[in-house]
Symmetry: C2
Subunit: 202 residues, 2 copies
């Protein structure tokens, strides 16, 4: 844990290690539902989460949560005893530190570095949301697809992305056919190479 939070005092690290549970969640598992009361705030130690919202069986990816990052939305909900506004699921086998919401409230007063952590997380998510918004309004679907693929490539640190067209469609709140067609077009423009279940970015 010391590697993941280098600016935490040893005392705080010991406290967290003693008082918080660490769970390992398999891939493709929902860990937070919209409307659910938040008792514990997840911090990703290892792995990757996908945070999204839904409306009438359409989804939209909001952002990813990777190692050493937390879900500020559940932080917000947890602190004020409220419910989650978003969904979160694992995209790979993920190790998660669970901070008990009620106790965290007290810890925030004792350990200012926790405040710093969550302020940083808020800032990051705000920037992510802004980025998502700007992509949606100001760019056409082909650019959005390309941008999403680049994000995925960065996250998994590879040029070859293993994902189905349907999953991309879900991330962008569109339909599978639209994605398939756009990918074909991007392939013709030499921006990527398609194969079954995977896309190589050029």
């Amino acid at each position: 844990m010391k590697n993941i939070f280098p600016f935490f005092k040893s005392e705080l690290i010991i406290l967290l290690t003693r008082e918080c549970e660490i769970i390992t969640v398999p891939t493709q598992q929902e860990i937070l539902r919209k409307g659910q009361y938040v008792k514990v705030i997840p911090v990703v130690l290892k792995g990757l989460l996908r945070v999204y919202t839904t409306h009438e069986d359409k989804e939209l990816l909001l952002y990813h949560i990777k190692s050493s990052e937390s879900c500020v939305m559940s932080f917000a909900a947890g602190i004020k005893n409220g419910t989650s506004e978003i969904y979160a699921q694992t995209l790979e086998k993920t190790e998660i530190l669970l901070l008990p919401a009620q106790r965290l409230k007290k810890w925030l007063e004792q350990y200012p570095e926790l405040n710093v952590l969550f302020n940083l997380q808020y800032e990051m998510r705000y920037a992510d949301l802004l980025h998502t918004i700007e992509n949606m309004v100001f760019h056409k679907m082909d650019q959005r697809v390309l941008s999403l693929l680049h994000d995925k490539a960065t996250l998994s640190n590879t040029k070859i992305i293993k994902i189905s067209h349907q999953a991309l469609a879900d991330d962008l709140a569109t339909s599978r056919e639209v994605i398939s067609r756009i990918l074909k077009k991007l392939e013709n423009e030499n921006k990527l190479v398609l194969s079954h279940q995977s896309i190589k970015i050029l």
Copy 2:
């Protein structure tokens, strides 16, 4: 100021009164530009701000900042000596408290209630952005227009909104003709009444 921040200690109120400037800005004035370094963090005492982003002469309203609220985006930028990601302008004559960014950093450690304030602001803006996103992806333009009008009505506490079609178009990053047509359609559906320069919500 005591009315606006009831949970601040008197000591803090006195400090803020002594150390911070309060300015009065006329309507329709830009107070923050994208890319600008943030030296002071604005807190609205009275009035209304419009926060938006742009791309190639298109705009998009992100949210409003009303009395007793602050701009967390400039908070984020101010604290880490960065630049603003957004634009802000006044929508009416507005009184603004200016917190000097560098000193605020120290105050945050001394007065935990300041942390609480900014955490609340972050949470509020995150919710606003999420709302903006969901409106954009999951709803058609007519619903977005209606929703925007309802927001404006709530903000100004009246059913009659004084605004031009062009201004609505700017808020929604679309064109004036689209708004004009949709307003006509909504009028036919008895959801509002149009007159020159103003719209009455039914």
